[in-house]
Amino acid sequence: MDLEREFERVVAADHRIEPRDWMPDGYRRTLIRQIAQHAHSEIIGMQPEGVWISRAPSLRRKAILLAKVQDEAGHGLYLYAATETLGADREDLTTKLIDGKQKYSSIFNYPTLTFADVGVIGWLVDGAAICNQVPLCRTSYGPYARAMIRVCKEESFHQRQGYELLMTMMRGTEAQRAMVQDAVDRWWWPALMMFGPSDAESSNTEQSMVWRIKRHTNDELRQRFVDMSVPQAKMLGVTFPDPKIAWNAERGHHDFGEIDWDEFWQVVKGNGPCNAERIENRRTAHEDGAWVREAAAAYAAKKEQVA
């Protein structure tokens, strides 16, 4: 078919597919699923850090954290807007999220126990997100790629504020240093899990690579993240809870241990420490905000009548 050949030609030439172009149904479905999941992650991701805004230790840290959480709301909205160019409906996606029919990144199902967690989320969780997201700036669907360019520009501040926060704590007391190490110990493995199942287990990777939605496999990105993080940990003066981490000169990469995949699938399936709480908070916020949305719509309708 002509349309399909034209689509394949554009993708293979590394040009962008735009909203009004013909595209295969599978491409559209895959994109909506992936972008919506990404948008949901940004919105749910406001919660673990949001709870620390009122408890941040200084006005400076409070202002930074507020800006970061506001950015995450913004990233969610850029991405929902990208799904709408594919014919999805934002209200419908929100409903699917709170009904548990669409997923978000498992990382946000872990609790933030101390203020050091805020720093570690910026450094490792946002660091892993950047590894995942930078290649998406060249993804084949135009509106998604453009949204990711905006997101990546802003994520850089997120990661740096986290690392700076941790450096500050490491210059503090023994108790503060212990707090940082404890947070690193808890977040390291979940951060590695952010890259998804291993390539052998990843059902969506192959087709997504052909369509140039994904540009690298899960394991490639995970390796890149480990290689980036090891020297950063050294500079900071913390260790990762994995005795197998070692430089492998032959491969030119760091070796590292096996992820606990049972834990990974448990959290994906909804049995992580905070899954229920995250969804419940999102549902409450959505329902509590309903009257605002309705009142604004009623006011707009009334003004239009008068005019």
């Binding site: 807007a81 209200e91 905006r150 949305r293």
Partner: protein, 95 residues
């Protein structure tokens, strides 16, 4: 619960004086005024703009990609509209 029916707006931002407004994305808002305010919060958190336009998405008329070839064909064969079409000797100054 009733579903919200806020319309979709397309957002255009002028990055700085002297530049055109450029499309940056879209958002939902109950009316034009709220669309401008939401656009400020969403698309200009870091001084990305000095001016914002919003327009309801359903008010935009666009060419269709299906008719790409015929629609843009009139410009396709008019190479004489470009300066490189003309042969001028190297030694003619300022041309």
């Amino acid at each position: 619960m009733t579903r919200s029916s806020w319309p979709l707006y397309e957002v255009f931002v002028r990055g700085k004086r002297g530049l055109n407004h450029v499309h940056v994305g879209s958002l939902h808002a109950p009316d034009d005024e709220m669309a401008v305010r939401n656009a400020r919060d969403l698309y200009t958190r870091r001084n990305e703009g000095v001016s914002i336009w919003v327009v309801r998405a359903d008010a935009i008329t666009a060419s269709s990609p299906d008719e790409k070839d015929p629609f843009f064909a009139p410009a396709g064969d008019k190479v004489y509209r470009h300066p490189t079409f003309y042969d001028i000797p190297q030694d003619v100054p300022h041309l």
